[in-house]
């Protein structure tokens, strides 16, 4: 029985271990079919076994990594036993693991998309070099010796108003635009 997820068994397992494992799964699948189980049920069992084997392989790979780079233990807040315990809990309930992983993935994707949309539509850059890197501007009233706070949107509005006023003045004087054409209202 071919299964699209068998590539997951590559993680944490050598080819010498992967081949007999797949052979055992194949043999068990055929035995279940011979005992009267239907194909969908056997496929579901096969999928669950592959996922559980994947998590065991992942756990072994992390263990080997931690053992190899023992210095990481000193800088990490997580001890190897913490990682082992968390992986055991994940292996024990693969369904919950898959659902939570997909949930977190979708959540991050939605948050990123919303941030991109809001940033591009509601957070304009001010007209300066690398204006998009500015997070705040201070405006000081020297006559009254007071701080006069404004948001970035105020500066954008002022810029647009000044541009329109300057353009109106040039139109009234009959000046040409930057491309050489006559300005029209």
């Amino acid at each position: 029985m071919k299964h699209p997820l068998t590539f997951l068994l590559r993680i944490g397992r050598s080819a010498h271990e992967r081949a007999p494992l797949l052979g055992d799964l194949e043999e068990e699948c055929r035995a279940r079919l011979a005992r009267g189980s239907n194909h969908p049920a056997v496929f579901v069992w096969y999928t669950a076994e592959i996922l559980r084997a994947f998590f065991w392989g992942l756990r072994d790979a992390i263990r080997a990594f931690v053992r190899r780079f023992a210095d990481l233990r000193a800088v990490s807040m997580l001890s190897p036993s913490d990682l082992t315990l968390s992986l055991r809990l994940l292996i024990r309930s693969p369904g919950l693991t898959v659902v939570s992983t997909v949930g977190i993935t979708v959540g991050i994707a939605i948050a990123s998309a919303m941030f991109g949309y809001i940033h591009s539509n509601f957070d304009p850059a001010i007209p300066l070099d690398e204006g998009d890197r500015l997070v705040s501007l201070e405006n000081w009233d020297t006559a009254g010796n007071n701080e006069n706070r404004h948001s970035l949107h105020d500066f954008i509005t002022w810029r647009d108003q000044m541009y329109v006023r300057h353009r109106d003045q040039r139109i009234s004087r009959g000046q040409r635009d930057d491309a050489g054409g006559r300005l029209r209202a």
């Binding site: 271990e17 081949a19 007999p20 494992l21 797949l22 055992d24 194949e26 043999e27 084997a53 065991w56």
Partner: protein, 103 residues
């Protein structure tokens, strides 16, 4: 001092001792299901076997490819003298702890 064995390791070593030369993934799992009423995954069995092989408690060898296994060979596993000694010590410790205790 004999190697420390976890509970699942003890169960697998007992299955190996029971199965002899017939021990490989499917028969080990079937024995565990029949005698402990647990349903361990193949992934757990293979990870535990590899860990015990690294410690020298078991050794493995490949069988012949079989059609019923999709043309793949079995991985036969047998106890080593070190593994048998560790299993004997673990079993003796359980017997000593249970001595005189009514369960």
């Amino acid at each position: 001092m004999a190697d420390y064995l976890g509970e699942f390791e003890q169960l697998i070593l007992l299955a190996l001792a029971r199965l002899g030369d017939e021990a490989y993934g499917v028969t080990i799992r079937t024995t565990l299901i029949e005698r402990t009423k647990r349903k361990p995954s193949f992934g757990a069995i293979y990870s535990t076997l590899r860990r015990m092989e690294d410690k020298g408690l078991v050794r493995s060898f490949a069988g012949e490819p079989e059609a019923v296994r999709g043309g793949r060979a079995k991985k036969h596993v047998v106890l080593t003298p070190r593994g048998r000694a560790a299993l004997r010590e673990a079993h003796a410790a359980i017997v000593r702890m249970a001595e005189g205790v009514s369960l």
